[in-house]
């Protein structure tokens, strides 16, 4: 799973039947501090995420199909499986200074 931020939604009429009824969002992978990391990708939404949300993205077919609850949708590989409320990071510099 990777941390990502939802940056856009995609509207598509002509698409593979496996994708019918699913919301497709553009997600930009980020590091724990929120800085963009790597190239954006598209993911099927399994958790009612929206633009601007920090999310968890799973980029593996079997897991993605479990998230959207349709094991027959074999062409789906990437899905949003969680909305991140907060990320706690240990402040390594502070920890070093205290000891």
């Amino acid at each position: 799973m990777t941390l990502a931020k939802v940056v856009a939604s995609v509207v598509s009429t002509e698409k593979h039947p496996h994708y019918r009824g699913h919301k497709i969002l553009v997600v930009q992978p980020i590091d724990p501090e929120g800085n963009p990391k790597g190239r954006s990708l598209l993911a099927v939404d399994g958790v009612q995420a929206g633009i601007g949300d920090r999310v968890l993205v799973v980029d593996e077919g079997g897991s993605a199909r479990a998230v959207i609850g349709d094991e027959t949708a074999v062409t789906i590989r990437t899905a949003i499986c969680g909305i991140v409320d907060s990320v706690d990071i240990e402040d390594i510099e502070d920890a070093g200074g205290a000891s």
Binding site: V11, S12, H18, V26, R39, G61, T75, I76
Partner: protein, 110 residues
């Protein structure tokens, strides 16, 4: 899945039977702002895309599964859908490609 722009068509006479009747298109991966994002690739099409369309494509084994002629085929990229619009919220909707960037509504079909 990634966004891409169809930039050409690939014609093969001699090819594996599993690709019979399928269109092979040259796809340039782009980001949500229409900027190039990596090298162009060849993908077969199941979404009736055409040259100039903004599309989304799947790579890896899931692409092969999209082949209507059966999953046992050597494809690693498939065009899954044609993008009508990319909506990025507060900003004006973004155009997927360079040709008509700046218009208020994004779109693949031209």
């Amino acid at each position: 899945m990634k966004l891409g722009r169809v930039i050409g068509r690939v014609v093969c006479t001699q090819k594996m039977e599993c690709f019979d009747g399928l269109k092979l298109l040259l796809v340039q991966p782009v980001d949500e702002n229409g900027k190039h994002a990596g090298a162009a690739l060849v993908a077969f099409d199941v979404a009736r895309a055409g040259e100039g369309d903004l599309v989304f494509f799947e790579a890896g084994k899931e692409a092969a599964q999209a082949n209507p002629n059966g999953w046992f085929n050597p494809a690693d990229a498939a065009i899954i859908g044609v993008v009508d619009a990319v909506d990025s919220g507060s900003k004006p909707a973004e155009q997927g490609g360079g040709k008509s960037a700046g218009s208020k509504s994004a779109g693949g079909r031209k």
